[in-house]
Amino acid sequence: MTGDERWIHTPPRESATFDRATIAEIHRAAATGIYDIRGFGAKRKLPHFDDLLFLGASISRYPLEGYREKCGTNVVLGTRFAKKPIEIKIPITIAGMSFGSLSAPAKEALGRGASAVGTSTTTGDGGMTEEERAASSLLVYQYLPSRYGMEPDQIRRADAIEIVIGQGAKPGGGGMLLGQKISERVATMRTLPAGIDQRSACRHPDWTGPDDLEIKILELREITGWEKPIYVKVGAARPYYDTALAVKAGADVVVLDGMQGGTAATQDVFIEHCGLPTLAAIRPAVKALTELDMHRKVQLIVSGGIRSGADVAKALALGADAVSIGTAALIALGDNHPRWEEDYRKLGTTAGCYDDWHEGRDPAGITTQDPELTKRLDPVAAGKRLANYLSVLTLECQTIARANGKSHVHNLEPEDLVALTVEAAAMAGVPLAGTNWIPGRGPQD
């Protein structure tokens, strides 16, 4: 034995192109003949807020005292046209998620958690539930292409209206709530038979294009006496033009959802291969607002992959007025919690990886209509967990803002940031760390 026998065969080497996940997907596709459908958001690694750093204070920048000096976090939304703008106490809102995709206790918990810290939550496809309205001190009503459950009396009971053009996980795509999640209550709210798949349309049924959108916004304002802020939500596709067109159409608020934004269900190929990363979408939107002299007049809410107070602070520094969270809020309620590991194993997954939200078998009782599973989620306790999480995000954001010398989180600015990668520097329009180089910017920019 020379010890060289082991080299007779080449050691196992995983292909970078055909890695194990890719090979597994090819086997899955070959076995089933259908694309993979799942919930959650993009799982691939993307340029993100992790690629940015705050500089903090220095000789030329004066910090504020932590726990002592005030750092404001309130945001007023809808100051452009609405007679009754809404004020949220923290710069973090809860994104639209439907009753149907989520259980009634989950919707209630979102309302409870948001209300406890003075922020808003948002309805989704299927309209407004009484639990949600009762639990939410500020409730934004989504006006969606499907119009499932949409009623004028519900619009009048809302605090703001969000016209949904698209979402980051699937810009240009509608939705499909599979029959197994269509309980009698969900079916009744959506005027469809129980147990059948419900296709959520990808286009609005009665308007096409920005000129029509302007008239649609006029109608909604006329129906609500010009009282309520009107948001326009777009998936991050062409953020510069979409933001400009939303402003032109008369929006009070633009909601910009990057590709890391979650979804209840869509094709994996859609989630992973369409849209812009959140990091790449913010500056073009802010540029459009600035050029129209509408920055801070039309508020910008950014969503898609917000996880921490650092993410919040970075989004605000790049020009957002507030952020919105969906996936992180569900996790705070208890989604993918290790306590349900045994059940996750039975579903062929593990805590931290569960994404089959569309199947209605969520062990945590959140993305399901199963009566027994739904009982697992206590809306009071889950709401408290969400409130805790939102408080942590806010405290973290304030910590960073104070360290950068800001008495309000809105005073954070791109100048406070540097990028760790060339890609992030180009997308965020901030210098590569240790240099004054912003890729793509000429000396006059």
Partner: protein
């Protein structure tokens, strides 16, 4: 000459044919008057193609619009009876909940879109996407209709005395369609269905409600609806989409 109504006043049963002249009043002023009225009748003159006129009404009032209107006239109507003595733009009576909207002329696309209840009558023709995503509204069109009518229509009834364009009832759910004339083509999962007594009774009632007399025989209509083959996703149906 109709009496003028004071803008913002709360109209009552005594308010009859009160005039709202859009030559001098803004859209907001007219809509506010109509939205606050609890009863009575109103005549809106000089609409000049205004959008969102008489949208969001909530009470059983009568409104007559003397002229053509733009988008979304009678949008989300609740209880009111609105007559348009002219043509209507996109989305007339969209998402109507109850009441009645009567277009004496032609209607543009997406008429009655997502409507939940009440009756929409169109004396002339209707363009594309009539009754798209319908959710319970009844629609009677005395003329012909364009393509993609009743796309994804969930509930409610559509009656057409003339012809229907391409892709009628594409991806339709539980809405019922009655067409007297020719249908250029049926959309995915939409089929002709047997007219049973219950359907003849329903159709007669809808014609009566629209003011159409016995000279129009229900036997001349064909019923269309969902084949219900695409209600649950199945890989074998991919070729249908």
């Amino acid at each position: 000459m109709s009496p003028s109504v004071r803008v913002g006043m709360k109209a009552t049963h005594e308010t009859q044919n009160a005039g709202l002249d859009m030559a001098s009043l803004s859209l907001r002023q007219v809509n506010e008057s109509l939205q606050k009225a609890e009863a009575g009748s109103f005549v809106v003159s000089n609409p000049r193609g205004a959008h969102a006129l008489a949208a969001g009404l909530v009470s059983p009032i009568d409104v007559t619009v003397e002229g053509h209107v733009g988008y979304y006239c009678g949008g989300m109507n609740q209880k009111a009876s609105i007559t348009i003595n002219g043509n209507a733009g996109t989305g007339v009576a969209e998402n109507m909940m109850s009441g009645r909207v009567h277009v004496k002329g032609d209607a543009s696309q997406s008429a009655g879109a997502t409507g939940c209840g009440g009756l929409l009558v169109i004396d002339g023709n209707a363009s594309a996407r009539l009754g798209i995503s319908l959710r319970g509204l009844n629609i009677v069109v005395k003329g012909s209709i364009g393509h993609m009518a009743a796309f994804m229509a969930q509930a409610g009834n559509i009656v057409v005395l003339g012809d229907a364009g391409d892709a009628l009832g594409d991806s339709i759910y539980e809405a019922r369609l009655f067409v007297r004339g020719k249908v250029k083509s049926l959309g995915t999962d939409c089929i002709a269905k047997e007219m049973r007594d219950e359907h003849r009774t329903l159709l007669r009632g809808l014609l009566d409600a629209a003011g159409i007399g016995p000279e129009v025989d229900v036997a001349e209509f064909t019923r269309y609806g969902s084949a219900r083959k695409l209600y649950n996703f199945h890989i074998d149906n991919l070729g249908s989409y």
